[in-house]
């Protein structure tokens, strides 16, 4: 296929003319085959990898009865509030006044530190995404729970006080 038939002989050249050697037109196809199979392998692998994964999320049933609500020990709780601009505000226990600021990269250490300090059965993380938090923030923090093997956590709305405090902090820090 890749060769062409070249007619030998034919017209005679004069005595002084050197007979030029006929070069073969055969092309080495090995690299092309290599490339072909490489592409095949690549396509086969990428098509199966593209499947999206999914994260399971189980929410509790909403209840108005106070005795059905989950009780959390103050000493073992860590509240993470997700604010605007990928910022996390966190505090221990039940006093929002001691709120501190962090980001998504450092939050893992904070969770781990608290986890080490508290008995496993008391440790509880309360996640409070505010109105300006994005879906990505929520998924990231839920993922962080998985990564740090936190078995008890809840997602609730921040109280009005907490939201105001976040707003003030954001204004002071100039977060747009």
């Amino acid at each position: 296929m890749a060769e062409m038939e070249v007619k030998q002989g034919g017209h005679k050249k004069g005595p002084g003319v050197k007979k030029s050697k006929k070069q073969s037109t055969r092309v080495d196809l090995t690299p092309m085959v290599d490339l072909g199979f490489l592409l095949i392998t690549f396509f086969i692998f990428t098509t199966t990898m593209a499947q999206p994964t999914s994260m399971n999320l189980n929410m509790p049933k909403d209840t108005d009865k106070p005795d059905e609500n989950t009780k959390v020990k103050e000493s073992g709780s860590l509240t993470l509030m997700l604010g605007k601009g990928n910022v996390i505000y966190y505090y221990y226990g039940s006093d929002p006044a001691t709120m501190q600021t962090t980001g998504y990269k450092d939050v893992r250490n904070i969770i781990l530190e608290k986890k080490k300090k508290t008995p496993a059965e008391d440790f509880f993380v309360i996640i409070k995404p505010d109105k300006d938090a994005t879906y990505k923030n929520a998924v990231n923090i839920l993922d962080e729970m998985n990564i740090n093997d936190v078995s008890r956590y809840a997602m609730v709305d921040p109280t009005a006080d907490e939201y105001n405090k976040i707003q003030l902090t954001e204004q002071a820090a100039g977060v747009k």
């Binding site: 994964t53 399971n56 929410m59 995404p129 879906y135």
Partner: protein
């Protein structure tokens, strides 16, 4: 003495045939690969360490776009009488043509009053349009209506409820969707994410190392 001359065969193999086969296979795989159905709604999902594949069967998917619009799509096997249930709930009469078009539709992205004109659109027209999304505010929560209709129409079936949100969408939208699900007594969801490696040295990483079989 005359010796029989053994003709040396060339060791060059003709690669042409092999090359042909390789490219034939390549062409076949490229053409046979199922193309991702062109999505009218572009969604960039966040990453998670979860290694579970998103269910592809019996799913009911709520998509949240980056501008906080909500769209709904479901497995063909689940469509069944969804439109009938929805009509009953909202007192709307859907024509047979609408019902047929709904079976073929890949997703729903408009309020109910525009539904029949939406179902008539061709995929090309859909690509050009900016869709309003399905309203989910408390006064006219049509996302809730769709979920209720889907649950009513598929009683006894185990459905997977997927939520596919864009990175930039607001948490409040996600919460409204969750609330709509909760009103239908659905508390288990699958959040569609991109796979991500478990960070080395983290608790989950150690746990997986200890019992690799358990991580599934």
């Amino acid at each position: 003495m005359a010796r029989a001359k053994i003709k040396r065969g060339s060791t060059n193999v003709d690669m042409t045939a092999m090359c042909d086969v390789a490219f034939l296979l390549l062409t076949f795989f490229i053409l046979a690969a199922k193309f991702k159905p062109s999505e009218a709604i572009e969604v960039v999902t966040p990453a998670s360490v979860s290694n579970k594949h998103a269910p592809q069967k019996d799913y009911f998917n709520v998509t949240i776009s980056k501008d906080n619009k909500v769209f709904i799509d479901m497995d063909d096997a689940m469509k069944g009488d969804v439109l009938d249930e929805l009509g009953k709930e909202r007192n709307i009469q859907f024509s047979d043509a609408d019902k047929k078009a709904f079976q073929l539709a890949t997703f729903v992205g408009v309020p109910l009053n525009q539904l029949s004109s939406f179902l008539k659109l061709t995929p090309e027209q859909l690509g050009k349009m900016t869709l309003p999304g399905i309203p989910y505010d408390s006064t006219n929560n049509q996302v809730l209506a769709w979920i209720t209709a889907a649950v009513q129409a598929n009683q006894g079936k185990v459905a997977n409820f997927l939520i596919k949100g864009d990175n930039a969408s607001k948490y409040t939208t996600f919460k409204s969707v969750i609330d709509a699900f909760k009103k239908n007594e659905i508390f288990k969801y699958n959040l569609v994410t991109n796979a991500e490696d478990v960070p080395q040295g983290s608790e989950l990483y150690k746990k997986n190392m200890m019992s690799p079989a358990k991580s599934e």
